[in-house]
Symmetry: C2
Subunit: 191 residues, 2 copies
Amino acid sequence: MARAGLSPDAIVDLALQIIDEEGPTAVTLSAVAGRAGVATPSLYKHVRNLAELNTRVSVRVMDELADRLREVVLGHSGAQALRAFMNAWRGYVVAHPGRYAAMIQASRPELAEAGGRLIDIVLAVLHAYGLEGADAIHATRCLRAAVHGFAVLETEGGFGLPVDLDDSYELLTQMIISGLPKPAQDHADGR
Amino acid sequence: MARAGLSPDAIVDLALQIIDEEGPTAVTLSAVAGRAGVATPSLYKHVRNLAELNTRVSVRVMDELADRLREVVLGHSGAQALRAFMNAWRGYVVAHPGRYAAMIQASRPELAEAGGRLIDIVLAVLHAYGLEGADAIHATRCLRAAVHGFAVLETEGGFGLPVDLDDSYELLTQMIISGLPKPAQDHADGR
DNA sequence: GCCTTAAAGCTAATGACAGTAGCCGTGGAC
DNA sequence: GTCCACGGCTACTGTCATTAGCTTTAAGGC
């Protein structure tokens, strides 16, 4: 038997393929093994169990999302950055609904690190807004709640009515931006 | 064998018991059958399958939540009503995290009706705010996104930091209330 | 008070999964 | 060329959901 050249990362790749093509519920060890051309139990040589695989997938997606956000926020500050952040978040969700859904269903503790990277981006954006300490935490939570809530409802078909979603999201963006405590006016970027 | 006196509703009751005591993932047909004192296949005489049971549970929880919200909103209007609505929503989620989690994971189509009842409450509140048509839809979506996003993050342990959650939610409430398009000034409550 | 019958149980069985135990070939290090 | 750890395999177990088909129960008509 030729070796299949598997690795934890390769397995996560296959899981992501399945997620993109058939949705997150289709990720079973036998489905992954099928794509790998391998018997199911062989996967256990590379991942501890299904839960660990799910966690790895989740981390991968979080990092992918974090990269997009970091990129998009770069070079902007204040409201500009916030708007870019929110648009990029929804953009990712709409482009990869399965991945987003997979991201949010995995056990907490192991995700702290990847989740932290995500939150740090928000904090950086808000920092440029002049928010620090508890104020920044509260603002981060509101931003996350709004953005995540909209994402979940949109991907799960919670918004049924034929009214433009972009407009709704624009209103949400407005609410967040104008609801934030005093921008400390570092006018534009730079020092 | 004495009959167990089962019915779809009785089965939903048992499922809710399990959800409250062991969480939504513990709801299996054998667990329910165990509590009912009945063999697993007997349940199929009352519910079509597990998916249908989950849907029924979801509807039940939605209606329970809708009742609370209706009650709490009654007699208030404008910002007052909005605030009451948001507090009651989070109150329910905190009091019954398992039920809320169970509510949001069930197939879409059959839930339209119960979901509609929930949304109608929001629309009624916003109506008193002077919002109609597309504006009301956009506002409803933002409100739902914020409230639901916060609920999901809170119940799933997404908010790790030791900073007061009540304060964060208060900020979110502020953002929503002050971000809504023009209140039509039904000045204060009363009339 | 009996008889019929449909509803409500039951047992047995299947098929999809996750996960475990233990065997064996392969290929890189030496 | 030899060795051995790694990566793959087969065989098996236990848990679920779900189906088929048999039996019991109790309610209603006579």
